[in-house]
Symmetry: C2
Subunit: 664 residues, 2 copies
């Protein structure tokens, strides 16, 4: 037990660093760090198992600040505990260009930032993935190597966002008992009292999904400690509703929205100094308090060393696999496995939907990689995400590798991010491409963080047919390509599907969306080529010789149309080349020479995609011909729709000849 | 009370129409219509106040099939009740191209379809908006003119989607007691039993947000009726958990996932005919049963006529306003009001952020229009969505016109759609542009339905500064422009903001996103022009004469940069024109002559936007110069970021001169 006055001074160090940094930046949110400093102090001085000197120790507890606007809480903690990445200058440069202390915590900016937060609810849902990763790895490697807690600090906004429901219902169902959510129940949001917009009894709500729920005074250290102890002992995930005062210590603004998202002002800070008995200058932490914090930072070093001994004592294969997985490396055999599979495909040339092609590739991949964890948002049979090796993950039982995420695309994507962040797991999960809209905020964060989440998006065009325009993606390929650092892969057949999966798995710092068809496609890659051609982004699938008149660019299901159009054009004396374009982003990474060669110099350039034109001008120029969609789809059998919307080889031939006529 | 055998035969009519239609289409979802036929029969024969002959009667009860995959339930009902749009041929053409009976219910395809559903949870959240619209209009026009219920049929998927939490917490808070959600508690989802993925006690969850909750046997007509009666009498919104068997009547597939989303097959249907004692041929409803249904369809004709009498008896002004609002017409004075305001602006040339400019325009608009209902997802002071006229909508008290939606962007957007669909209201609601990602599924549906929801999206670029990349939209303008039938309006100053608001309000069948800055901008439209130039999509803001060498296209906050670059280029002997591009979509609707004139023929074309390039090739060609973003933003003061990312007048001048050098 830590004496109360010492606790108070340690907590106040967080409060003043936060106030001072926000004040200097003239921007930021002092209210949350001030309100939750007591909770954080108890957590980090008595419970958190982590080591600032080895911040990436795999078996550390995770701490996630889901209420990311309160970033100064996290930065203060990291500084005080002795994380080298955050020194006092970083605190002073809060929210300045080039600093590690961005407005919201950014994964990768500094050790100790476990995930990027700010968009509310995401951190909470990431944490569910982290806690699930812990269970999955524990089931494989045992308590000796994997046994840690995931602590989350969430605000009212996190709990109001819909994603929170997906996350808590899922966590409650699976009984992720080492997940502990500490809710900063300060009853204040930006617009004013939470009661302006909400009357939910959060404990009752969490209990309805099987959570253990507790309430405690968030400013009473012993009550905080007792609640956390009780949570750690529970066989279910726990919500602790910590009643707090936002901006605790600010004489006139505490307990009001005025403390939420703006600097307090010099006068108010002076008042807080008086009220809390703090006489140090701005950004100065008295040395005795800093010592106490640094000692707290050393608490788990012994545990970490013991863990390292246990790892060293593990059998060699287990240790090697554990270490490889935590590094994020693929098994050495992987390349050969994919290559063998491509050779096998060349002999078979299966005519399958690419969603089936994806499943076939996964069958091979999941055999080779122990770290893949598959799943679907209740579309397993449609997304073809489950392979024969994958047992089901069940409540309290984590030896399987397949997850029924429920009808929760957003929660799935964010949980996948959490698993990827935790390490040791490569998560992939499926839904329909149109429902990427539901998952988009989490997909964007995967891109911003640069993590290996793989989104399997089937039913990727009007080719899904009868379900109609609500289910038919039209703008989604363009909208996903718009996200920076996100590979949108759209294979045209089984070979390309295998190559796209290889790319996704090998892209350690880029998340991928693999867009797949519902409908069967003709194979277009019928002979074996060792090189992963899809990794070029775009490549010449069928040449036309020096007298080429037309270049046809296409992706996915429209490549077979391009191939047929080429056949017809060749016959009619207009030699055409076909360029398959599985990935815009990878194409941009090629050399200028390569790109120019692929774009070519033919008088006519045509692109085909059963989506909107946006983005394709890069290939065909703004005067090129685009054969695709200009509005929403319709309900009907897929072949009818392709005809109705004019996405046919005949339309390509007609457009090409019209243009060739013009150019003559 | 309806005799049990008659009830059963009426309900079985729904079951067999659904089975037969799905079977003929070889596609669709028979399980839900079969499982909920009893609930629907009780609702429509005893409770629903509606008139198939006057389907748009404003004071009708609303019925929303949130579980839209069960569309055959709705189509069967509309046919049986006598809605003219759905005859037996439409039922036979279920899911065929050109039919009104699309795979999922599509708003606008047939009267009686109150909203487009299919993406799960959306219908439930729309219904909250509809029920809220009822309360708002009731507060203004009284029980005499507005007094109806909103009934929702929701499935497990609707309740698992995160949007459901936003919707129910919001509805419970506001005490929307005329909202009745009937949950088809069949415990089956596509992957199998719901227990694979969920263990939530839904009644407890709804109760936690202040709902009245009931449980009843969904196959017992009297239990169903009694539950609905009890719900209607509640002072809170009600969830009725109706325990049902999916595919009720199918001998081997009922109660399993096999009844969910595929045709049952001839044998199973034959078995159902035997089990349910139904010997009519496919698509044939015995005439006595059809008569009973048609009589049920006439139930409310008298009420409708009485309502019309009450409307006729209302005072002339009230009636005129009510009718105008329900038609969706703007007041006649509106155009003059905007025009006067533009004249006033020309005298003042305020240097304001466009979010403030939007607020100034709204101040004028909300005075003139009684039908606008504003709100924000807990960013009122940042979105500037609240004007002086708007009182707050409070629990049980609906005389205000401003809504605190809470931190619920998705629920807000879907509720706005529900209000727009209800009629009599023009909803607008605000959040940060980056969080359009959270609201995107609902925004897409607004576009698909063609309704007037107005999304106010502030903090529309890196110009928001310190909050950093999580909060800085980079790809969002492109991603929203990708959605068909969606006007993305990005004004450059106060005059353009007024014009964009005018466009949004006058676009009855197109939703709008108005993208607005956090930071102050120089006015660029300093003299009065009567024409709404923004309605052109793009227009020449500053000409350069016949010797123009450079055209600079820009939107929103980058127009001031374009103007400054033009000044510098002019000085340096390179006459430049500036084209302001507030709306891509409206530009495409202009005549070819106009578009060509705007694009112009200058040797160099440059576009500036603090977002990604995608889409801009339309203006500058694929070889044009784009000054904007290529990746995520950063945390720092806005001026530092503009410099850091090279979005400056100097960069434009440099790029222009480099190109002019090349072209010489």
């Amino acid at each position: 037990m830590i004496p109360r006055d010492k606790h108070d001074r340690m907590a106040n160090a967080i409060r003043f660093l936060s106030m001072d940094a926000v004040e200097k930046a003239k921007s930021g949110h002092p209210g949350l760090p001030m309100g939750t400093a007591d909770i954080a102090t108890v957590l980090f001085t008595r419970f958190m198992t982590h080591d600032p000197k080895k911040p990436n120790w795999p078996d550390r507890d995770r701490f996630v600040l889901s209420a990311g606007h309160g970033s100064m809480l996290l930065y203060s903690l990291l500084y005080l505990l002795g994380y080298e990445d955050i020194d006092i200058d970083e605190i002073k440069n809060f929210r300045q260009l080039g600093s590690r202390t961005a407005g919201h915590p950014e994964y990768g900016h500094a050790a100790g930032i476990e995930t990027t937060t700010g968009p509310l609810g995401q951190g909470l849902a990431n944490s569910v993935g982290m806690a699930l990763a812990e269970c999955l790895l524990n089931a494989r490697y045992g308590d000796e190597l994997v046994d840690h807690y995931t602590y989350v600090l969430a605000g009212d906004g996190c709990l109001m966002e819909g994603i929170s429901q997906e996350a808590i219902a899922f966590a409650g169902h699976l009984r992720l008992n080492k997940l502990i959510v500490m809710w900063d129940d300060n009853r204040i949001s930006i617009d004013g009292p939470v009661s302006l917009a909400d009357s939910t009894d959060q404990c009752e709500r969490f209990a309805a999904s099987g959570w253990n729920t507790l309430r405690a005074d968030g400013h009473d250290p012993e009550a905080i400690a007792s609640a956390i102890e009780s949570a750690r002992a529970s066989d279910r995930p726990t919500l602790i509703a910590f009643r707090t005062t936002i901006g605790h210590g600010a004489p006139t603004k505490s307990g009001t929205a005025k403390a939420h998202g703006s600097p307090l002002g010099a006068e108010e800070i002076a008042g807080a100094r008086k009220a809390l008995g703090w006489d140090a200058d701005p950004f100065v932490v008295p040395s005795d308090i800093l010592d106490d914090w640094r000692l707290a930072g050393l608490r788990s070093a012994k545990e970490r060393k013991e863990w390292e001994k246990r790892l060293a004592a593990a059998d060699a294969d287990t240790r090697a696999e554990f270490e490889r997985r935590m590094r994020g490396d693929l098994p050495e055999a992987f390349t050969a496995v994919i290559d063998d599979y491509k050779k096998k495909l060349a002999g078979e040339n299966p005519k399958v939907a690419t969603r089936n092609a994806s499943e076939m590739a996964l069958e091979v991949i999941n055999d080779c990689l122990s770290e893949t964890i598959g799943g679907s948002a209740d579309l397993t049979g449609s997304n073809n995400t489950r392979t024969s090796q994958l047992g089901t993950v069940e409540p309290g039982s984590f030896s399987g590798r397949y997850i029924h995420y429920g009808i929760r695309e957003h929660g799935m994507a964010a949980a996948m991010n959490g698993m990827a962040l935790h390490g040791g797991i490569i998560p992939y999960g499926g839904t329909f491409l149109t429902f990427s809209d539901y998952a988009r905020p989490a997909m964007r964060l995967a891109s911003l963080m640069g993590i290996r989440s793989i989104f399997v998006m089937t039913h990727d065009s009007i080719g899904l047919g009868e379900d109609g325009p609500t289910h038919q993606p039209v703008e989604h390929l363009a909208a996903l390509r718009a996200i920076p650092n996100h590979n949108v892969l759209r294979p045209a057949d089984a070979v390309e599907a295998a190559e796209c999966w290889q790319i996704a798995l090998e892209s350690r710092k880029v998340p991928s969306t693999i867009a797949l068809t519902r409908q069967k496609l003709e194979p277009v890659r019928t002979s074996y080529v060792e090189e992963n051609l899809c990794a070029r982004g775009a490549y010449e699938l069928a040449p036309a010789g020096d007298d080429a008149a037309v270049t046809i660019f296409a992706s996915g299901s429209e490549v077979e149309i391009a191939v047929e159009a080429k056949r017809q054009l060749d016959e009619r004396g207009h030699p055409a080349r076909v360029v398959s374009v599985p990935c815009f982003e990878l194409f941009e990474e090629q050399s200028e020479d390569y790109r120019e060669a692929i774009l070519g110099q033919t008088p006519v350039r045509i692109a085909i995609e059963a989506g909107i034109r946006q983005g394709w001008d890069r290939f065909i120029g703004s005067d090129g011909v685009f054969i695709g969609m200009t509005g929403f789809g319709a309900s009907g059998p897929a072949p009818d729709l392709y005809k109705h919307f004019g996405i046919t080889a005949e339309a390509v031939v007609q457009a090409a000849e019209a243009r060739l006529g013009e150019t003559k």
